[in-house]
């Protein structure tokens, strides 16, 4: 299969099918409805099942049911709909069920609008539902990277028995780029002996639940979860750097914002400003390593986000006071332009308004 020109939302859906996802439960919402529509057409072709639920809450609970049987299952939404799924996501974590949940973020809070945003960063990285939990969050920046990370998301979900969030913004969902769906050379095999598929007399009953009425038992369960989160932090950090070797200033951005920022960096480099980029690909676990390696050399970090400043808190924690951390962001569906980001770089580097 050669390169094809597709919309981001469709790429997520097709990549999920390539990853062996056979079940999708969802409810349409702009700007990710093409994903739902694509799955409705595509899943029956591969012997899977698509079901449009009556609400986002119903959809996430259908995901819970399907995941309990060990199949690869997915749901997707955009910010307001994603908020509705939080209870179910907490249950998935508590019951240790693998699933992939996609959030194509739009402007908020509330009903907001349908334009691109990254303002659900806190919600996805700090545990949007109740209870002590984190879950892996992957943020692709290009349509080709969606192909790779969707597969990764399903693998991580199965490897650790955890829900995984794939997060993009409305721009990533709506844009078209050439993509190629290569066949994976090696596929990790996952033994799912916990799945509730009937015992056939070969063992005791299997129970999937997040309910634990005994406090000390629930604390033990929490300890196990925390150990799992620590393991994920150790093994599943993903990031990319761009021209940071000699950088005096480092921009921090993820998703499409990182691409816009790269254009601004290239222009600033032409003006002699030594500036680079750290692009977190896993938003949780947040990549601390590139900050620890650079924080004693750089003059400042600048976090660029389509929010009022959320990832900047993780940047500050990683920099830990070793260097100043500045910010540029736009909110409400306004996308920062490369010109604005360039101006911000020049202001921080040269101390002047350009």
């Amino acid at each position: 299969m050669g390169k094809v020109l597709m919309k981001g939302n469709e790429v997520i859906a097709e990549a999920a099918v390539h990853a062996g996802c056979k079940y999708f439960f969802g409810y349409p919402i702009t700007p990710q409805s093409e994903l739902v529509a694509y799955m409705a057409r595509r899943l029956p072709e591969v012997g899977g099942l698509f079901l449009q639920a009556e609400s986002e809450i119903a959809a996430i609970n259908m995901v819970y049911g399907a995941a309990s049987t060990g199949v690869r299952v997915m749901t997707s939404s955009s910010s307001p709909g994603f908020s509705l799924k939080q209870e179910g996501i907490s249950y998935l974590v508590g019951s240790e069920l693998p699933a992939v949940i996609c959030n194509i973020v739009r402007g908020g809070p509330g009903l907001g609008n349908i334009q691109p945003a990254q303002s659900d960063y806190f919600q996805v990285t700090k545990g949007g539902g109740h209870g002590d939990y984190n879950l892996p969050v992957l943020a692709p920046a290009s349509l080709q990277e969606i192909v790779e990370l969707t597969q990764e998301a399903f693998d991580i979900a199965d490897r650790y028995r955890t829900p995984v969030i794939l997060m993009g913004d409305g721009m990533l969902g709506q844009m078209m780029e050439p993509v190629e769906f290569g066949e994976r050379s090696e596929t990790e095999q996952f033994k799912k002996d916990w799945a509730t598929t009937g015992t056939r007399g070969d063992g005791g009953p299997k129970i999937i639940t997040s309910l634990e009425l005994d406090a000390e038992s629930l604390e033990r369960r929490n300890c196990n979860l925390q150990q799992k989160f620590a393991l994920i932090k150790e093994n599943e950090v993903r990031y990319e750097t761009y021209s940071i070797d000699d950088a005096e200033y480092i921009m921090v951005a993820f998703g499409t914002t990182a691409r816009i920022t790269m254009n601004a960096i290239n222009k600033a480099r032409q003006e002699g400003v030594k500036v680079g980029l750290i692009r977190p690909i896993s938003l949780w676990p947040f990549p601390e390593e590139p900050f620890i390696e650079t924080r004693d050399q750089v003059k400042a970090y600048i976090s660029v986000e389509m929010s009022a400043g959320q990832m900047i808190e993780d940047v500050r924690l990683a920099v830990n006071g070793h260097a100043p951390v500045d910010f540029y962001g736009r909110t409400g569906g306004v996308v920062p332009t490369q010109e604005e980001i360039y101006d911000k770089i020049m202001m921080v580097a040269r101390g002047v308004q350009v």
Binding site: K3, L5, N113, I114, M171, Q174, M175, E177, T256
Partner: protein, 182 residues
């Protein structure tokens, strides 16, 4: 080479598909491409537009704020994007529907009565292809052959009979530039 294009007009004038054809053709020629639609509520009754980037390198920002070329098919699009065209950039105007003219001296301006010419060709809906033909003749960004090849892939087979009139419109647009209309 880095070409950052904005194509804008009313919904239904074929601005989205024009952009997709350029992106598709660029992909067929091995270039880095991206296509980004405006998908906000402004599409209803106002202007619809898309941003297309074609580059020798993988595409960085898919968002275009200062286009190297703007192709505007109606008045609101002219008002919105004429001032944004980059210094020494190109502005292509569908003068059948756009009333104003650009006063800018630092850009190249091409006025083509595309809707009228399309009507002469017997299909008002190919005005977009006349403008596309003119754009490609001027910039040689992708070949007309690649556009035709893309049309074959983008159009479902029951619409393949429309390829010929689209081809004629592309050739007509290119010819207008060749004879030096301004």
């Amino acid at each position: 080479m880095l070409e950052e294009i904005i194509i804008a007009g009313f919904g239904g004038q074929g601005v989205m598909s024009m952009g997709q054809l350029i992106a598709y053709a660029g992909m067929l020629e091995g270039k880095g491409v991206s296509w980004l639609p405006s998908y906000g509520p402004e599409q209803r009754g106002g202007t619809a537009n898309c941003a297309v980037v074609v580059s020798d390198e993988p595409v960085g920002s898919p968002l275009v704020t200062r286009p190297s070329t703007a192709i505007v098919l109606n008045n609101p699009s002219f008002d919105k994007f004429e001032p944004r065209v980059r210094h020494e950039g190109l502005l292509i105007i569908n003068s059948s529907l756009v009333v104003g003219t650009s006063e800018r001296k630092d850009i190249k301006v091409l006025e083509i009565p595309a809707t009228d010419i399309a009507n002469d060709l017997g299909n008002s809906r190919v005005a977009n292809m006349i403008l596309l033909g003119a754009f490609l003749e001027l910039t040689k960004l992708v070949s007309t052959d690649s556009i035709i090849e893309s049309l074959k892939k983008v159009l479902s087979s029951e619409k393949h009979h429309l390829i010929e009139v689209n081809k004629q419109a592309l050739i007509k647009g290119a010819a207008l530039v060749a004879v030096g209309i301004s």
